[in-house]
Amino acid sequence: MIDNIITAIDHYGETDPERICYIYGQDTNTYGELKTKSDHLAQYFAQSELPDGAPVMVFGGQTFEMIVTFLGLVKSGHAYIPVDTHSPNERLTQIDSIAHPAAVVAVADLPIEMPDLKNFTHADLAAAVQTGTDGYDHDKAVAGADNYYIIFTSGTTGLPKGVQISHANLLSYVNWAVNDFDLHEGVHALSQAPYSFDLSVMDLYPTLVLGGKLSALPRAVTENFKKLFEVLPNLKINEWVSTPSFVEICLLEPTFDAAHYPDLTHFLFCGEELTNKTAANLQKRFPDAEIYNTYGPTETTVAVTGVKLTPEILKDYERLPIGYAKEDMKIWVVDEQGAAVKPGTTGELYIAGPSVSKGYLNNPAKTEKAFFTEDGQQAYRSGDLGFVNDKGLFFYRGRTDFQVKLHGYRIELEDIDHNLDQVKYVKQATTAPKYNAAHQVTQIVAYVVPNQNDFKDEFALTQAIKKELGQEVMSYMIPKRFVFRDQLPLTANGKVDRKALIAEVNK
């Protein structure tokens, strides 16, 4: 059992400084560097007179400097808010206005100026890591209920919500992951998810506390399939962490199998529904590998259920289970009145225990709606529908609301609607997900009543709307298909009838 994330990672820097920690293309970095540089950064941040305990935004891609910065910040008592380089500019402004951060660290150059906020540039960091002494003030470091990271996720009002994850939350997750996913010291993991997506925590912290290696696979590589399959076999990773969507790309390549990837022994999936077909295909390609399906909202720290997918499970369950409850958690199913239901009955999943977040940063209204206390433990109303069987295995069955997962990315449809409504060519808009036979969302369709405009055709109008929307929302939130109407269907109450549109999209 690990009792402190920071000291567990530093242990390898102290006892085995030459041990490889991070691999990015031809570049490698060691645990010794991680410790020294993050110590120096912690001293630098401590001397920078930041307000005590205030979070700090960190803007960048998938690089070693990012994890050095994360560690430097938590050592100096500041939670970090990761913002990926692929975010629209407006995202930086929104997070700034919601989080009131102490500063922004530009590991990559900021795309906009943020003059009202203390800026640490890449050059500042480079200079700071060169100076200072070993060590940091342990009394200042993030511990216990202090926030460790804050990840922003889609909100129904069109503004993102910052999920606060404490050191205690993260510790509970990491100890469970190391134990239940059978991970060994020195494990070599794939690091594919961007740091602003909490799936990245699934590979980042269990690997670092085990003195393992992280092989970064940035978006520039994953988007170019030719490049991807030049890079992937040479990584020699043991542990695969991704969304099911990403492994489905890799399974298109016939050489993605145990013969070509003999080191690959573990597969961990989270973020969206894993289909039986994908799991069976993977099991055929990697017959000796351990394949785990997991589930968990960002609000409960990465994942709270997990199960090793054996051939028996694939045979017994056409729609795969999401797993057994993490041992220190209570997960139960309730009806619409919040009363517990019997095994086998579908209802909303409630989750309580040490990895449940304290709530949304500076958002007491949303926090109170989603969080409560159960037997003295922090608890979360997930909005996910599911049931538990008599063996304690949980199954996912959809949502109580209009939140969807698109290739692992969590999106509130109301968030897109709200931002679409702000686009100048749009009078009114409502979005609907298109599902495939395996219950996965494959496309988001926008139904739009346009304003009067001079575009020569619908395609030109669509492109203009997409362009304006893209300045406000993450690229995965931009609907692929636009349908233009004179009016949208209404319910008896006079609201836009989204369910009718969903039925139309999926007919």
Partner: protein, 83 residues
């Protein structure tokens, strides 16, 4: 056996479905990636549909975006692969 007309209409119908727009037929030289009409997950769908509807197996490791970025280029690629 699929003739060229069939290839053309099948590819166009797949692309129309994936991009949600008949612009692909109106402007078959449009760049599908720079316009944001296709992304990597939609590309995967394209390859799967080519496989199931036309029996074309495109090795994903040889998929170079720059050679598959317009409807006309995709049609030409598929025709050449039918050999």
């Amino acid at each position: 056996m699929a003739d060229n007309d069939n290839v053309q209409s099948t590819v166009m119908s797949i692309l129309t479905d994936l991009t949600g727009s008949d612009e692909v037929t109106k402007n078959p030289d449009i760049d599908l990636f720079t316009t944001g009409m296709l992304d990597s997950m939609a590309t995967v769908q394209l390859l799967l549909e080519l496989q199931s509807q036309l029996g074309i197996n495109v090795p994903v490791s040889e998929f170079d975006r720059t050679q598959w970025n317009t409807p006309n280029k995709i049609i030409a690629k598929v025709e050449s692969m039918q050999g």
